[in-house]
Each structure stands twice: as C-alpha cells, then as structure tokens.
C-alpha cells in the first residue's frame, strides 16, 4: 500500500516539493533572515536527493518501459494530461538535477548576500521544473516545464549576474524561446496527426519524409539552441559569463542536457528517417563544435567564457554520439553496435555536468574572492589556496578527459563508436584530446601557477568548510564514475534499446 503510494507519487513529490520549498523560502522573509532561506533550501534539496535513493533502488534496470508512472487529466478539453514517468535516460538526469541543486545551494551559502531568499527560491523552483521536464510523458506538460524553467533562470542572470547581465539575460531568453516556439508547433502538428499529446503515441506514427524533415528541423532548432550547437551557440558564453556561479552551474550541468535529452526523446524516435537523412549534417555540426569551438576556447581571456566554450565542445560529443548511430549500423548491420554510441552520449552528458559544474563552482570561489573573471588578473593561486588548486586540478583533468575521471568515459565510448561509423570522424573527434588539454591546462597554468604578483592574492583564504564539502562531493562522483561507470550504464541499457528500436525503424 505504502509502496504503491510511493511508486505513484514519488515523481510528483520530486517536482512539487522543491517548488513548495521555494515558495516557503520566499515567504521566510527578505534579507533580514537569510539563514532561514538557506536552511529551508538546504533541507529541501537534501530531502529531494534522499528521495532519489528509493527511486534508484526501486527502478528496474531490465525494463525499457516508463516506471513510477502517474496519470491525471490536466486539461480535458484539449486532451492534455498530467502524466509522469521515468526510464533509463530520464532517471540519471533527474538524479543529476537533485544532486546539482544541492551543490548549488551549498555553494551559495556564503557567496550570495543579496536577496538570499529569492535566490534560493529561484533555484528550488528551477529544480522542480527540470525534474518535471525530464519526467513528463505528455508533450504539452513537457513544454510547460521546458519553458517554465526559463523564468527563474532569466531572473537569476538578470538579478545576481554581473555587469552585462541585462544583455545576457535577454539574449538567453529570446534565443531559447525562439527555438522552443517552433518545437511547440511541431508538437501541435504531431497531435494533429496522432490525436494525442502523449509522447509515446508519437513513436508509432507513420510520417512521410517531408513531414519528418519539417518536424525534425523544428525540433532541431529548439534542441540545437539548448545543447547548444554551432552556429546557434552564442547565447551560452554570454549567459554563462554573466550568470552567478550557481546559474552557470545549472546552465552547464542541467539545462544544456535538455537539448540532448530532446534528441533522444523526440528527434530520433519520432523522425527516424529524417534523422538518418540529415545525420551527416548533424555530425558535421558536432565536429565543428569539437574542433572549431575547441580552438575558440583557447583564445578566451575570461575564465567563465573559456569553460562555456569548453562546454559547447563537450556537448558536440553528445550530439555526435546521438547521430553516429546510423552510420554505425549501416556499416555493421548490427543494432547492438549502436548502443555504445548513444550510451556514450548519455554518459558524456552526465560527466560533463560534473566537470563543468565543478569548474564553474571553482571559478565561482575565485570570483567571489577577487571580483574578476579575467585570467590575467590571477596567477599563483596555488600558493595561497592549495586545496582549491588541488580540487580544481582534478576537475580540470576530468574536463580534459583523463582516464579514471568521469570525463573520460563518455569520450572514450563515443570515439570507439565513431570509428565504427567513419575513421575520419573519429580522427576529428579525437582532436579534443589535444584541444581540451591546451585550453584547460593553459588556463590552469595562468591562474594557479606562477609567482603571486597581486598582493590581494597573497592574502586569500583557502576554501571554507562549505566549499570543501561541495568539492569533495564532486570529486567523489568524478572519480567513482571514472573508475566504475557500470552502474550508470546498466541503468540505461534497456531504455537505449527502446530508443534504438524506434530510431532505426523506417516510418515511411
């Protein structure tokens, strides 16, 4: 009975508990009692993370179906349902969301002084929205959450951002909103065809190539902006740079994943023939992200911008993993061979969340102390902040894709898959080994090594206990999944099989 209740409502709780917590934090009063808001946010996010444990334990790895489903009618007139569920690709992302929010709230503990309650509320609401996005089975519900989370993010950049925040927040909003508008049209069209807003009802739908291509392109704009893919990526460096540390973390670790999640949930299974038709375009765009953006990252003078560009390059790997499947299967005629490409993309999404999130938090620690993001203003941090330097080195190594860190796993799987599709794609993708090392370590060298020239740096205090907890948590997950990614992979096998089943089957 209790078990049944839990299975039905756990996802709703994960969505609405943080939203409720956010409201509570807002109600806790303004800046007179910042600790109340902090405590509320911390407790709520810890409970959310704790709830993920039974969710994970109760999840059946062997089933590719949606689990923990909940169905209710939302708007009867339009046939819109409040239906939730998780499978092997949304579960890891939901767990990632709750984990990341906890880190963001802890990292903000000492760093945010103005409008604390609003800040905490914004991130709690965002958490609820994102879990909702990943858990939605109804496309309109999905869309509602998808757009809804823009608001708190927009506010967080606009209020707690740095000098150029208003430009960045508007750019962010317009860019992403424009993409999503087309997605809505595509969803409405699919409803027209299938008489249902249920995402899984879109899968068996027969569509002509022309229909598929249009739907694919409409989805593509939404997802490519989110991911982001070249050439619609330019909102990201600005948004990342201007956002507060927590905002950058949520953007990099979670929001970008929405785009790739969209590929797996919508583009590939709904428009398989169009995906197959346009896969070389997608591969080309991914490779541009890896090579061109990787080079652009080298030229950055702003730490956050550098990490932002590095994010784009890493997400190029995700898109590559998603769209290599057609070439792989065409070469080997074996569906089993395509698993690794998609699973590599999933792992890359998650590991990128750890490494880029960690690096943004690391930079946040420095920016909080010195109020500058420019690489040239630093130098010699390792002398005054050895712990910070050591943790940052680990995070940088994960970003570089060193084996033994989580950053390696996805890249390794995708490169090994890519060569099954095309030798030269693998060659170009592998340039990331060199490029990521250059931009990451070149920055590390200029920021952390060298002699201290600025007297303010000499007086810096090393990371405090809260920052240390955050870094230790990140270090643990980075090393754990680097050494033993099997639990993560096992979670998704069945679902990826499901996605592949729809993606490799013609709908014509």
């Amino acid at each position: 009975m209790l078990n049944n209740l839990f299975n039905h409502y756990i996802l709703s709780v994960l969505i609405w508990l943080p939203m409720f917590g956010g409201a509570l934090a807002l109600a806790s009063g303004g800046d007179q009692h910042p600790n109340r808001a902090r405590l509320i946010a911390l407790i709520v996010s810890i409970i959310s993370l704790a709830l993920c444990v039974p969710l994970y334990l109760g999840f059946d790895n062997n089933s590719g179906l949606m689990q923990f489903q909940q169905h209710a009618i939302w708007i009867r007139a339009y046939d819109i349902h409040y239906s939730l569920g998780v499978d092997g690709i949304s579960l890891p992302l939901i767990m990632l969301t709750t984990f990341t929010t906890l880190l963001v709230i802890m990292a903000a503990w000492h760093h945010i002084h103005i409008r604390v309650s609003q800040y905490m509320a914004a991130f709690l609401v965002m958490q609820g929205m994102m879990v909702g996005t990943f858990a939605s089975l109804d496309s309109i519900l999905f869309y509602a959450f998808w757009e809804g989370m823009l608001i708190p993010m927009y506010l967080s950049i606009g209020i707690w951002g740095s000098t150029n925040r208003s430009y960045a927040s508007i750019k962010f909003f317009l860019y992403t909103f424009l993409g999503s508008a087309l997605m809505l049209i595509a969803l409405l069209y699919l409803h027209e065809q299938s008489n249902s807003f249920n995402i899984s009802d879109f899968y068996p739908l027969k569509l002509t190539m022309k229909q598929q291509v249009w739907i694919f392109l409409a989805f593509l704009l939404a997802f490519a902006v989110k991911l982001p893919m070249w050439p619609v990526h330019t909102w990201l460096p600005d948004a990342h740079t201007e956002a507060p540390a927590g905002g950058s973390v949520v953007l990099a670790a979670l929001m970008l994943k929405m785009g790739a999640y969209g590929f797996l949930r919508f583009s590939l299974p709904i428009t398989p023939d169009a995906s197959a038709l346009l896969d070389h375009l997608m591969i080309a765009l991914s490779l541009i992200a890896i090579v061109y953006i990787g080079l652009v990252a080298i030229a950055q003078t702003d730490m956050k911008k550098l990490i932002a560009y590095s994010s784009i390059a890493h997400m190029g790997f995700v898109a590559l993993g998603c769209f290599m499947v057609f070439d792989i299967v065409a070469n080997s005629h074996n569906l089993k061979d395509a698993y690794m490409s998609l699973e590599g993309a999933m792992v890359q999404m998650i590991s990128h969340a750890f490494s880029s999130g960690a690096m943004f938090l690391g930079v946040g620690v420095l920016v909080y102390r010195l109020h500058t993001r420019l690489i040239k203003d630093f130098g010699g941090i390792a002398t005054s902040m050895p712990y910070c330097a050591a943790f940052f080195m680990l995070f940088a190594m994960s970003n570089v894709g060193l084996p033994g860190t989580s950053g390696f796993v996805g890249e390794f799987m995708i490169i090994l898959s890519a060569i099954q599709g095309s030798f030269w794609v693998a060659v170009l993708a592998s340039t990331t080994l060199i490029l990521s090392a250059v931009y990451t370590l070149y920055m590390y060298k200029r920021v952390f090594f060298g002699v201290i020239t600025d007297p303010r740096i000499a007086k810096l205090h090393d990371i405090n206990y809260m920052e240390k907890i955050v870094f230790v948590l990140l270090a643990i997950v980075i090393i754990f999944f680097g050494v033993y990614p099997a639990p993560l992979l096992n979670m998704m096998h069945a679902t990826i099989g499901n996605v592949l089943h729809w993606s490799l089957q013609s709908k014509l």
């Binding site: 050439p231 061109y292 030229a299 699973e343 084996p403 390794f412 370590l441 090594f449 990614p485 993560l488």
Partner: protein, 655 residues
C-alpha cells in the same frame, strides 16, 4: 580470490594507498610521516613483486590472466579491468618498484628542505601506482589508464616548482605533446576495437594474424593493411610517451622538475612505457613489416641525432636527458627489427644506469647548491668520491664498455640491426653504430668536465662541497651494482635462452624475423661475448669516443672552443636542437593561438554575434522604428493615408 590475485592487488594498491594518505592529510602528516608511509608502501609492493616474479618466472606458475571487475558494458561490448601476469609484466613490476623504491629513499635526502615535501612523496607514489597499472594491464583500456595516469603525474612533477615559469612551461608542453601522441594512441585503440570488438589483449592477439590480410581505406582509393594502421597509430602514442622524434621535444624541458623524478619518470620507467607497449604488442607488430620499418627508422634516427645534441649541452641534467632520448631510440630501433627482447633488455639496463646517472647528477647538484652548469664545476672527484665512482660506472655502462650492463644490451641491439633484413635496416645500422661513438663522447665529456679538469666553481660553493648523506649515496650504490653486473647475469636468459628464459613466451616473433635466434648460435656465455667484442667495431667506437673526450677536455682543453669557432654553423644548429622547438613554437603554439583568436574574433564575435544575432535584433528595431512612423497620431496623416487608399482602390476598380 586466489593468492596471485591478492598479491597483484596489494602490489598496485599499496603505493596508491600511501599516496592517498599523504595527499589527503598532507598538512597533518609530518615530513617523516610522509616519507615513511609512501616508502613503506612501495617497499611492500617491491617485495611482493619480487615474490610474484619468482613465482611466474622461476617457480613455473603459468601465466595468469584475470579480470578484476567489469568496468562497463554497452550493447554486446564489455570493458574490464584486469591483470595479465606473465614473465614480461612481472619482471617489469620488479624493475619499476626497484627504481621507485630507491628514488623514494633518495628523495628523503634530496627534497629535505622543500616546502612541497609531502606533496612530492604523494606524487611519486601515485606515479608508481599508475605505472604498475600500465605494466600489469591485460587490456587496452587499463593500459590507457596507466598511460595517461603516468602522464598526469609527470605533468604535475615537472611543474612541481610551480612558481618557476620555465617549470610551468615545461609541464604544459610535456602534457600537450604527450596528448598529441595519445591522440594517435586512442585512435589505435579505437581501430583495434573496431576490428576485434574487444580490447582485451588475448582476443586481440588471437585475431591479429587474420587482420594482417584485411585492408581498410584511410584515404580514398588506397588500401592499407588494417594491422599496419593499428600498429602505426599505437606507435604514435609510443612516440609521445617514449619521446621519439619528432615528439621528443618535451623531454629536455621535463628536466625542470626535481632530479629524483627525472631519474624515476624521465629515464627509468615512464618514458620506457612506449617500448614496453610495443614489445607487449609484438603479436601485432610482427604481422606488419611496414609498421616495423617505421619503428626502426624513427628509433634509429633518434638514437643518433638526439645523441649528437647532448654534445653541446652544458647543463649536466640536459646531457643526461638527451642521452635518454638517444637510448630510447636504441630501444625502439631494437623493436623495429623484431629484437623485442633486446629492446626490453636495454630498457632494464638503462633503467639502472640512467637512474644512476641522474641520481648521481642530482647528488652533484645538491653539493653545488643547485648549480647545474658544468662549466662551473670541475675536479669534484676530490670532494665526492662515492658519487664519482658511481657516475663513472654509470658512464661506462652507458658507453657500452664491456662487461658493464649497457654493453650487453646495446651490443645485442646493434648486432640485431646488423643482421636484420627489414627495409631501413642498413640506414639504421649506421645510425646506431655512429651513435656508440657519440654516446661515449658526450657522457665522458660530462664526466671529465664535472669530476676532472680544474675547479671552476666560486669560493663559496667550493667551501660547501662534500659528499652527500647516506640516503642519497645509498641508492647510488644500489643502482651501481646492477649497472655493472646485471648484463652478465641477464644476457643469456633474456636474449639467447632457447627455452624462453626470463621473458618466457611473453613475446611473439615470427620465425623469419627472429634475428636474435640467429645471433644465439654465436653466443657462448657472457664473458666470451665480452672478450670477443674487443675486436668488434662498436666497442672500438665507444673507446674512441672516450678517448676523443679525453683528448679534447683533458689533454687539449682549448680545443673545444677552437672547434666551436671553426664549425660555428653546425654548432648553432645543434644549439637550436635542429630547430624543432622554434618550429613548434612558431607554427603550433603561436599559430594555433592566432587561429583561435581569428576564429573567435571574426567567426564568433563579429559574424555570428554582432552581424547575425545582434544584427537581427537591430533589424527588427529598425523595422519597428520605421513602422512606428506610420502611427504618428496626427489625424491629418491618417486622413491623407485614407484618401490615397481610396484613390488607389478607385483606380483599381475602375481600370
């Protein structure tokens, strides 16, 4: 879990444990605590690896290959973490642990007054862990883990004194150049995976012969043997790690790190990983003559030309560093003629005598108060007798004077190349032959400049000159012993044993490639071999090198300056290291930065952001600004528009 499993876990994990303890609690643990914890960890690991080696090599325990756990799987593929315990890997474990242990002990003295004492010990233990993982892997995934792991620690240790700009530059350069190699390496692994469906050594080796006949298209309209592509890609990785031309440029720069790590990482262990890897992969390389030829030519070229560079160096560590490059070239060249055992043999002897030379150089550097310029040394034999004798033994071994260890291994390499029939072998033969003269010359040049000739240091330094403490000279002595005699004991069993000997069946050679087997016919024991060599060309060249060094630096000390003036062009080319560094700096470092700037400023900022994104914003603003003018709010504007509209409509209707 059986006994061997437990032992190998303990071997790899004890250094990791030591490193972790010291790394995490480096503030709380004292200096004494730090070196005790790590040294004991490595000592345990060393003793256990001796036992393991004894079991596998001598007690007849069969090769043991097992998987520890499933790292991850996907579709029909599975990746494991596992260990392959055979003759090659267990002897490597012993060598790695032996050198590592001595370097731990030596560092207690060398690093004594350093601020980063705990950090240093944490790093070198971590390095030992990664190296042991590399050596004992039974699959490419774990090999790659160790491969990059040692690269990371090497990076951290070269940049150990991170306040020094040159150290930071050197460490960054080392990491990036290694990554260029790893770029090839991972593609090699991917290619293996693509054709085998697996990255476990056993399955790869089983399938190798059939891959030799398969072809793939790398460039359009060309057909390459799959195995050749795989072997060359893997070898690019080895070129990075083992500093082969043209990826050798990072190794001299790595001398910015503390001297003990130059001995451990940049002489004895990490840089030989490439040699180990190729030997391990002998079942692949054997089936690709093209790849072997490439290996041979790259190795032999490096053996001669990097050796020549050592002649013009004045920094004692750099001489030894260039010498390392040259000796790595010898090892790699040996691999190229399928004399894998000779390459591994030289790897072992080199580990001893080169670690010895580095540590002896370090001992000199401590005495000289961190002065490394040989022009400011001289006559140190008076002050440092132990170091003097040890350095001399190392130099004799390096110069391949019989019966020192280096003689046996290098002689085998030269003879093997002499007898090989593979394309490029005759070129390689002249390279390695001339190399013996060069080697003897540069090392004895250094030897004479440091320990003989007149005293050129300042008064203050001279007053402080004395022999180093026992923690420093004890490792020297312990390394001098194998440098002197290891060759005599090992030559028979490694190279010429009909039953496989020390390396057993770890190495696979096609019968038609087996040059060492044809040399074995003339082998009648180590002492006869040494005696015979007195009449051989390489030996005369080596002695000649020493003699010329003696002539130029002891007998006619003014001669070198004369030659420098006479051949100033050549001298400049050598000082510029053939221009590799400048080329890389201009083309790759500055070129890529410039390209990056152009991409960023033109591509992203100007075209995408300013023109397209903000441009569309401006366009809409412009449209609305103009359209707004229509909504002027003046009645007569609207009335006028109405009249015009009515007129147009009327005209259209009436037409």
């Amino acid at each position: 879990m059986n006994q061997l499993q437990t032992i190998i876990y303990a071997i790899v994990l004890f250094p990791l444990l030591g490193s972790t303890i010291v790394g995490l609690w480096n503030k709380k643990i004292s200096c004494r605590g730090a070196h005790w914890v790590t040294t004991i960890g490595v000592a345990i690991s060393f003793v256990l690896s001796l036992y393991l080696c004894y079991q596998i090599v001598f007690a007849g325990v069969p090769t043991y290959n097992f998987n520890a756990y499933i790292w991850g799987g996907s579709g029909s593929y599975q990746f494991n973490i596992g260990f392959l315990l055979d003759n090659l890997s267990t002897t490597m474990l012993v060598v790695v642990n032996f050198v590592s242990l001595l370097v731990h002990i030596y560092s207690i003295g060398y690093m004594r007054e350093d601020d980063g004492y705990q950090r240093f010990f944490s790093y070198i233990s971590l390095f030992t862990f990664a190296m042991l993982m590399l050596v004992s892997a039974n699959n490419f995934l774990q090999l790659y883990f160790g491969w990059e792991g040692v690269g990371l620690v090497s990076y951290l240790l070269i940049g150990f004194w991170f306040k020094k700009e040159t150290a930071n530059f050197g460490s960054l350069k080392a990491f990036i150049v290694n990554r260029v190699g790893d770029f090839g390496f991972i593609l090699g692994i991917a290619a293996v995976f693509n054709y085998v469906g697996n990255v476990d050594y056993v399955s790869v080796f089983n399938i190798a012969p059939s891959l030799a006949t398969q072809t793939m298209t790398v460039f359009p309209h060309t057909h390459w043997s799959v195995l050749t592509v795989i072997c060359i890609l893997l070898f690019i990785g080895a070129m990075g790690k083992s500093a082969q031309m043209p990826l050798h440029v990072w190794l001299p720069e790595s001398m910015e790190g503390p001297t003990p790590i130059s001995a451990l990482i940049h002489a004895a262990t990490m840089v030989t990983a490439g040699v180990y890897m190729v030997a391990r992969m002998s079942p692949l390389y054997e089936f690709s003559e093209v790849a072997l030829s490439v290996v041979l030519i790259v190795g032999a070229t490096g053996a001669l030309f990097t050796g020549i560079l050592a002649i013009v160096q004045n920094d004692i560590k750099r001489v030894v560093a260039y010498s390392t490059l040259s000796q790595l070239g010898y090892m790699v060249a040996a691999l190229g003629v399928s004399a894998y055992a000779a390459g591994i043999f030289h790897l072992f002897t080199h580990a001893f005598f080169k670690a010895l030379l580095f540590l002896a150089a370090g001992s000199v550097i401590i005495a000289m108060h961190h002065e490394q310029d040989m022009r400011k040394m001289g006559n140190l034999r008076k002050y440092m007798p132990v170091t003097y004798v040890c350095f001399l033994i190392g130099a004799l071994a390096l110069a391949a004077i019989p019966p020192f260890a280096g003689f046996y291994s290098k002689d085998a390499i030269i003879e093997a190349i002499h007898h090989a029939l593979i394309p490029g072998a005759s070129y390689a033969y002249y390279c390695v032959l001339l190399g013996t003269f060069v080697t003897a010359f540069y090392i004895f040049r250094a030897f004479f400049l440091v320990f003989h000739t007149e005293e050129r240091m300042d008064e203050h330094t001279r007053a402080g000159l004395r022999e180093s403490t026992w923690v420093v000279w004890l490792p020297l002595v312990l390394l001098a012993i194998p440098s002197a005699i290891a060759g005599i004991f090992l030559v028979g069993t490694i190279l010429y044993s009909p039953t496989g000997g020390l390396l057993g069946t770890s190495i696979f050679i096609l019968p038609q490639n087996n040059v060492l087997a044809s040399l074995a016919i003339d082998y009648h024991g180590p002492l006869l071999l040494a005696l015979d060599s007195v009449f051989s060309l390489p030996c005369w060249l080596a002695v000649g090198g020493i003699f010329v060094a003696w002539l130029l630096y002891i007998k006619f000390p003014r001669a070198p300056a004369y030659f420098v003036e006479k051949f100033s062009l050549i001298y400049k080319v050598l000082l510029a290291k053939y221009g590799f560094d400048d080329f890389n700096q201009v083309v790759f470092a500055r070129g890529s930065l410039k390209l990056a700037k152009v991409f960023f400023e033109v591509g992203d900022v100007k075209i995408l952001d300013h023109d397209l994104v903000d441009g569309s914003g401006r366009f809409i603003a412009w449209c609305s600004a103009n359209l707004r003018k229509l909504q002027s709010g003046y009645l007569y504007h609207y009335a006028f528009a109405m009249i015009i509209g009515v007129l147009v409509l009327l005209a259209w209707l009436l037409w």
